[in-house]
Symmetry: C2
Amino acid sequence: MDVTNGNDHGGIVGGIEAGGTKFIVAVGSGPGGRLLAREQFPTGDDPAALMGRVIEWLAQAGRNHGPLAAVGIASFGPVDLDPSSSTYGFITTTPKPGWQSADIVGPLRRAFPGLPVGFDTDVNGAALGESRWGAARGIEDFVYVTVGTGIGGGGMARGRLLHGLVHPEMGHISMPTLEGDTFAGVCPYHGRCWEGLCSGPAIARRAGRPAETLEPDHPAWEITIRCMAHALATITCVLSPRRIILGGSVPKGGRLGQDGFFRRLQQHVRGVLAGYVASPSLEEAGIADFLVPPALGDDAGVCGAIALGQAALATGAER
Amino acid sequence: MDVTNGNDHGGIVGGIEAGGTKFIVAVGSGPGGRLLAREQFPTGDDPAALMGRVIEWLAQAGRNHGPLAAVGIASFGPVDLDPSSSTYGFITTTPKPGWQSADIVGPLRRAFPGLPVGFDTDVNGAALGESRWGAARGIEDFVYVTVGTGIGGGGMARGRLLHGLVHPEMGHISMPTLEGDTFAGVCPYHGRCWEGLCSGPAIARRAGRPAETLEPDHPAWEITIRCMAHALATITCVLSPRRIILGGSVPKGGRLGQDGFFRRLQQHVRGVLAGYVASPSLEEAGIADFLVPPALGDDAGVCGAIALGQAALATGAER
């Protein structure tokens, strides 16, 4: 879908933010007061049963708030985004118990025949939501990264969501070893990849207690932020985004605070790039507008799911 | 420009591959026998004088081979790609003597009033050429990387060339330190970034002599290839390309040979990804089609410049 054409249609759309811990379901036409109803369900280990509850809730919400014009799903992954694939709309190789090869789109199609169904990764969904209503309005090239239990990234290039061979798996890029850092990382696949070094569980393992309990001057914050700066500089070099939106629980910064977290991270990103990429956005005066939190806050995901539904409606995609 | 619409128009187009060592100029409508004439000029340190010689050659070639319908330039950088900028079409902050703030597009516009002028980075140009005639035909999401004196990357996402804040600077991503590797790297900005570790000059510094003289089992090959695998895995995680095209002098592999170089690199890329990104393209049987040399070989650059001219013609862009 070319989301530059995906304007709001005014209709009521269902959105499903499918996360590894909980599913958030909503109906509406956008953020804030345009979210008419929402509910959440624990993800559990039985996709078919959960999708049944989600569908039941959406059907009732559609009866309460006007007929649904479309549904969008922004899902944890990896997911199959290839419309020509027999497993399109499935969660594929996740280690999450019960969720390997779980069909997410199929039950919705069967429950709501003919309804356009949009489907993408959780981070591409959030990126689309931020593009329509948040921190990426009017920006064709940007990245949305979430740092929490895991790390994932999505975004747009030239106004289109990043897809490709599978979809971006930005959390698993290779990382430098900072001087004196002997931490082995927590990623079961790569050890010291970005997710292995900077996710919430990585910080907790490094510090011996959860990130949100750490003092602002705890050394785990400093080394985590310095590592993260390398990852964001790498993304800047590969994609040349005009903005990076950084969501999730870790950038809230715990006792360090979101402002403190972002200020330190922004300076370290500038330090890693070392002036090589010449842009006002990467200078002292511009970096605060280059690396930002999501404008939709914790609603980025479910609003993104609604935006995916709207985009499917706009393109007439019944999927 | 949306290159998916950029079909050949049959006309004769001028192409300029603007490199840091030489400028290759050609007229034609594509690769092979469709390249009607070509010439090259040393880049030197006087952009205005060089552009004068280039323009003179193009004007004469246009008289010999039919009127020029457009001109395309694929340039070393960094370059200004923002059409709304007062320095659009300039090479900007290069350390190359004489070339800071050098206007490349302006002289062509003045010499050929009204002629569409396409302009992009050398690697985006090569990517476009490979997309039209080479190893990326029919692929909307791919990356083109060149590894030689420097390292640069371009490509397409969803069928559009990667632009953004500036343009990708893939050669400067952060890199892990492989066990036992104490090499400081050669990048004046970042030391051990990808270019600092794996460019031709980096290999020569590491080995004490040029890459092309090294025995196939020289340890500098092994560590360079292992480092490069991390960079290509990172690009795979950030962009999810369906194919990576790797050109330039280093992947020719010197006495190791191109086939040997690619085979070893392909296996190390699989090793770094460790099976996390699930795709047949990254499996043993698929990797040889995922990471490939340019199909246009050494003509990728100048054919890409012609493709940029054709794309400007197709979109009617007078720039």
